[in-house]
Amino acid sequence: IYDRAITVFSPDGHLFQVEYAQEAVKKGSTAVGIRGTDIVVLGVEKKSVAKLQEERTVRKICTLDDHVCMAFAGLTADARIVINRARVECQSHRLTVEDPVTVEYITRHIATLKQRYTQSNGRRPFGISALIVGFDCDGTPRLYQTDPSGTYHAWKANAIGRSAKTVREFLEKNYTDEAIATDNESIKLAIKALLEVVQSGGKNIELAVIRRNQPLKLLESKEIETLVTEIEKEKEDEAEKKKQKKST
């Protein structure tokens, strides 16, 4: 009986396969999601690509529908399957109900799918966590996070993947109403959060935004570099001000 299901409870109540799946998530590069006032931002650490590999095929940020997109961290192949199922569900929902999915609905669908794989015979859990962002029909911005166990929660800002803990701590300190007051500020907050953990700065960051009633937009590397320069200048100015304060 015990060899039918891969996820069996341990005597102290742990589902070790699910917990190990969460370790697999930590092997993926960092992804951060920020819910702003009129914008949602997804930022990811770009993985270095082999010389002969086409960079376009290594994407951590994917659209699920015109108004919803997600970033994942963990096993690439598992992510592809989850994304495909989610995309089909988005269209199926539109056909049957004649309305686009709400961000919560599609998150719940993905989370239910993941949970099913923690309770079935012979299947292992999906080794990915996802950050799902988008706008509902009523214009509310949403950010959800799912993990291999199939739980999902709404967040104001969150991070998944390799150095998620560091990024989350940064966000806890720096996610303020001023920080998300404008679209630009929200984007800069995402970049600042990633710069805490990404090596060699802006060139390894990929950023995507959704604005209300607009499709997903991937920022170009030039735009990201400009923002990174802005952020660095702001940091220098801050440091200068502190120095002057100390001397007076």
């Binding site: 590069s29 270095s48 082999a50 290594v58 951590k60 690439t76 803990k165």
Partner: protein
């Protein structure tokens, strides 16, 4: 004759003179044993200057005040990046041995190619009493004793102090608490009783043990009362990885007293020593 356990024993008959056949068999067995022993022998190949210094010293030993041994790809990568990267080290020798997993010995006198698993010795130009050994090849259990005897046999025991850096998979770390991902990689230390100073990280808790070359070196130092300290890094990555290499940084404090070190390391240099297959591994995104 069959025994209870199913083995078949040959019975010697006193009636027939079988001595001649037996002798040949025994000789053949002995010959095979000797061949295997020779094949598995551990040889240290020193460069001409060091070989000359060994000869010139009456006891066939080198004067050595500090021996730093790195066992494993991350420990070796750490030394390459932080210590051997300054131009003041000379490669002075290597150990050549053969076992099922390290088939190097077919080219005994030729130095191993860079990047191959090997056991290399480096000496500091300005302070020739400081030796570094990077061991990335597998040394079988039956060869460990020979390795330590031969290597330490070339070094003067007086004033010698040893530091060992060694990698280990965190899956082999036994602890009653659940280890959350953020704690890994981490360092644990072990010292020989002759070692006086403070170790820079917590001691290795029971029931964890050391095996392989680090254990052989530390045992040798304990028996011969050589002060030795070992830093074992538990990591969850299989390949050389820059984060794991950085975990050895506390050891730099001891090393900087001996030799001039690279003061600040750019991430690019570290990445050079971390395995490049990171890019080719598309398993995780």
């Amino acid at each position: 004759m069959a025994t209870f356990f199913g083995e078949v024993l040959s019975v010697y008959s006193r009636a027939v003179e079988e001595d001649d056949d037996d002798l040949d068999d025994e000789n053949e067995d002995e010959r095979i044993h000797r061949e295997i022993e020779e094949k598995r022998e551990v040889h240290i190949v020193w460069c001409p200057e060091v070989a000359q210094s060994l000869e010139d010293s009456g006891s066939n030993t080198l004067q050595c005040s500090d021996l730093i041994i790195a066992v494993g790809t991350n420990a070796a990568g750490f030394l390459s990046a932080y210590v051997l990267n300054t131009e003041s080290w000379d490669a002075v020798g290597h150990v050549s041995l053969w076992n099922e997993r390290s088939r190097g010995s077919s080219r005994q006198s030729i130095a191993p190619l860079p990047g191959e698993p090997a056991c290399l010795f480096y000496r500091h130009r300005d302070n020739p009493a400081v030796l570094v050994c990077q061991s990335t090849c597998y040394i079988a259990e039956d060869q460990l004793f020979q390795w330590t005897e031969k290597v330490f046999g070339c070094l003067q025991k007086r004033g010698l102090s040893v530091m060992v850096l060694s990698d280990s998979p965190v899956a082999e770390y036994k602890t009653p608490d659940y280890l959350y991902g953020s704690a890994v990689p981490f360092l644990r230390s072990l010292k020989s009783s002759a070692s006086k100073g403070q170790a820079l990280c917590p001691a290795l808790e029971q029931p964890n043990i050391l095996t392989g070359l680090p254990a052989a070196v530390l045992s040798h130092c304990q028996v011969h009362q050589i002060p030795a300290v070992l830093y074992q890094c538990y990591t969850d990555v299989i390949s050389p990885d820059s984060i794991t290499m950085e975990t050895y940084k506390p050891a730099l404090l001891c090393l900087s007293k001996l030799v001039k070190l690279e003061p600040c390391l750019s991430a690019d240099v570290l990445r050079k020593f971390a395995i490049i297959t990171e890019a080719q591994s598309n398993l995780y995104t």
